[in-house]
């Protein structure tokens, strides 16, 4: 049971999604209601995305938004313990195929039965794996040139040891935001 008195300031709820594929992005574009004039082919066709300067298809901005409402809805167990009042995000960077999407909601304050969250949604984009100074595995980000100089200067590029060698990846916030839920108890 989720009760207002059990919620702590600074408490974090989190979900991860690692199944972003071209097929899913296209499927979302189809069922997301973007048909006809409101449709943008940069979410479906490589050549259009490249012409628009994106280097490859990107997910619709609202696609990642769905994981925020899912996180909050899971937390209140589909309105068993409360309801979602408001969710807002700024869409800073696109989400792409192969990205790991991490969504976190951090409790900022409580007022009556309402809980206010800061939302941080970030992507982990694998770039390549190096071993003994040689690249042993490429990912879509390195093949299509998704990584920019800005990513390096802003400190988004990180590395960690994995089975095959050293994995280089980009970690950046794609959508900061806020949310309000109202609990019943």
């Amino acid at each position: 049971m989720v009760k207002i008195e059990d919620i702590k300031i600074g408490q974090v709820i989190r979900n991860e999604f690692n199944q972003i594929t071209k097929e899913l992005i296209k499927e979302y574009s189809k069922v997301g209601g973007f048909a006809k004039l409101a449709s943008n082919p940069i979410h479906e066709k490589e050549e259009f995305a490249k012409k628009a300067g994106h280097k490859g298809i990107i997910a619709h901005g609202l696609f990642s938004f769905g994981f925020i409402t899912k996180l909050l809805d899971d937390f209140i167990e589909k309105e068993k313990y409360g309801k979602i009042i408001k969710v807002g995000v700024e869409m800073r960077h696109p989400v792409r195929c192969e990205d790991l999407l991490i969504t976190e909601a951090i409790v900022k304050k409580k007022e009556g039965k309402r809980v206010y969250f800061d939302i941080v949604q970030k992507t982990i984009t694998k770039i390549h794996i190096e071993k003994d100074g040689k690249i042993v595995q490429f990912y879509e980000a390195s093949e299509k040139g998704y990584i920019s100089k800005k990513d390096y200067t802003k400190g988004y590029i990180k590395k960690k040891e994995v089975d095959k060698g050293t994995l280089y990846y980009r970690e950046r916030i794609n959508s900061p935001g806020y949310a309000i839920i109202e609990l019943f108890n």
């Binding site: 209601g33 012409k51 899912k70 869409m91």
Partner: protein
């Protein structure tokens, strides 16, 4: 990205739109029919498998919160059809749709009812503030109110759209 419009033209267009657009009612309204299949397919895109959202049609599902994504961009069709005059010449709001992106979104469900399959939503909207950033990227707020066939409030949406230079 290749930009064929010169900086003076971009600046002139930006100044015109910043002055002309704020407060404009988006012409007409959009009616959106909520279909069971679309509600289920959209929920599944987010890995949602709870029967309250993806159960059988007979069981009486409701739309998952993210279903608001399905209709919150519908009014853009009407926006795309807006034609107005600038310096005596007719023009559309967006000149190059490849340069149009969604920059932000806020859904407000306070006091709203749930969406069920078969509901018909009516979407109305107006344009809020319009501005450019230091890179001459144009930003505009769009406020939408969505009601169901019984006139009940379903959702209020505040969107932020952005158009890269040359696209407006």
């Amino acid at each position: 990205m290749i930009n064929l419009m010169n900086p003076e033209e971009i600046k002139k267009n930006a100044e015109f739109l910043i002055d002309f657009l704020p407060g404009m009612e988006i012409p007409g309204s959009v009616n959106f029919r909520c279909k069971y299949k679309q509600m289920v397919k959209l929920a599944k895109c987010f890995g949602i498998n709870d029967p309250i959202y993806v159960g059988s049609e007979e069981s009486g599902i409701i739309a998952c919160p993210a279903f608001a994504n399905a209709f919150s961009a519908k009014l853009y069709i009407n926006m795309a059809r807006i034609i107005f005059e600038q310096d005596g010449k007719k023009r559309g709001l967006v000149l190059d749709f490849k340069k149009l992106l969604h920059a932000g979104n806020e859904y407000d469900w306070d006091g709203c009812v749930k969406i069920k399959p078969g509901d018909i939503l009516m979407i109305k909207g107006k344009i809020g503030k319009v501005w450019v950033n230091e890179d001459m990227r144009l930003f505009g707020e769009i406020f939408q109110t969505i009601r169901n066939q019984d006139g009940e409030l379903v959702c209020k949406v505040k969107s932020l759209a952005t158009i890269a230079p040359g696209g407006y």
